[in-house]
């Protein structure tokens, strides 16, 4: 059931990205290009998404457990550390170069265009690269427990 629910959520998420126009990198770049012909659409997408998600999360906060699993895995960190800042900068450069982030990239994968396939292959390489880099960087602190799923922000 969890798997079916997750598939449907992915489907709705993907439909939202398509309808909002955020799968089109030119539209995303149009928002990021504040010195050009600025397209404010992305701000409206964010506003709609945050408002509905916040309402849903408020309902979830009043419940003891999700419908299909044992517990809510709310992110439990609130510190602003160096990896958060550094990672956001690195991501921001990549996002600004082409106007694609992970969600829209995956929705676009259905069209199997060469640029998108190249982007996703590189993105997965970057994710794997970070896992290797992280393993070496944290090697001296071997006592560090494996990250709980609830630790991930997104």
């Amino acid at each position: 059931m969890q798997i079916a629910a997750s598939f449907v959520c992915g489907l709705i998420f993907g439909a939202g990205l398509l309808i909002s126009g955020m799968t089109d990198p030119q539209k995303v770049l149009g928002f990021l290009d504040i010195f050009g012909a600025w397209d404010a659409t992305l701000a409206f997408v964010m506003a709609g998404a945050v408002a509905v998600a916040a309402a849903g999360f408020a309902i979830a906060r009043r419940r003891s457990a999700p419908a299909l699993s044992a517990r809510f895995l709310w992110p439990d960190r609130n510190d602003i550390d160096t990896p958060l800042v550094g990672g956001a900068v690195v991501f921001g450069i990549g996002w600004g170069l082409v106007g694609i982030c992970p969600g829209p990239a995956l929705v676009n994968l259905a069209g199997l265009s060469l640029p998108i396939v190249v982007f996703i292959a590189a993105m997965i390489l970057g994710m794997i690269g970070h896992a290797f880099w992280g393993r070496h960087a944290t090697a001296p602190h071997a006592v560090q427990s494996p990250a709980l799923p609830s630790r991930a922000d997104g």
């Binding site: 969890q2 629910a5 997750s6 598939f7 959520c9 992915g10 489907l11 709705i12 998420f13 993907g14 939202g16 398509l18 309808i19 126009g21 799968t23 089109d24 990198p25 990021l32 290009d33 659409t41 709609g48 998404a49 945050v50 309402a55 849903g56 309902i59 979830a60 457990a65 999700p66 699993s69 044992a70 809510f72 895995l73 956001a88 690195v90 991501f91 921001g92 990549g94 996002w95 600004g96 170069l97 082409v98 982030c101 992970p102 995956l106 259905a110 069209g111 265009s113 640029p115 998108i116 190249v118 982007f119 996703i120 590189a122 993105m123 970057g126 994710m127 991930a152 922000d153 997104g154």
Partner: protein, 141 residues
């Protein structure tokens, strides 16, 4: 301002928020695409099913949309394949390092009023704006 589409933006955004709300209410998970994909790459197998299902849903959305006459998404991209590959590497590495992207930090983090996510979102937005400014308008271009 051309191509400005606030209504479809709001509607599509509401659907994205609905998906994030439903994923939490049903499975207790945060709808962050970076975490969902990244942890599917090296997580335990019993934790992998729902992640792959969510990604399958993302990819299935445009396929189902073709039944209603929508074309498959094949976005026009001006950058060369080399730049696209570099951008992909930066996006993959950076989102994992920063623990999230526009969905996990941007949508879910803002909805939770997480200082951490709001900081991350402001930083990647500003960095992307500066990057676009340099690429499109900088260096005498």
């Amino acid at each position: 301002m051309h191509n400005f589409t606030p209504l479809s933006g709001l509607l599509g955004g509401a659907l994205i928020g609905l998906a994030a709300a439903l994923l939490m209410l049903l499975t207790g998970r945060i709808a962050g695409v970076t975490g969902i994909v990244g942890d599917a790459l090296h997580g335990s197998s019993d934790d992998r099913g729902w992640r792959i299902a969510f990604v399958a849903g993302l990819i299935a959305a445009p396929l189902i949309a073709t039944l209603f006459g929508a074309p498959l998404p094949r976005p026009a991209m001006n950058a060369s394949l080399a730049v696209i590959a570099i951008a992909g590497l930066l996006v993959g590495f950076g989102t994992r390092m920063g623990n999230g992207c526009t969905s996990g930090h941007g949508v879910c983090g803002f909805a939770r009023l997480s200082a951490r996510s709001i900081a991350a979102t402001c930083i990647f937005m500003l960095t992307a704006i500066v990057t676009v400014a340099i690429v499109r308008h900088g260096l005498g271009g």
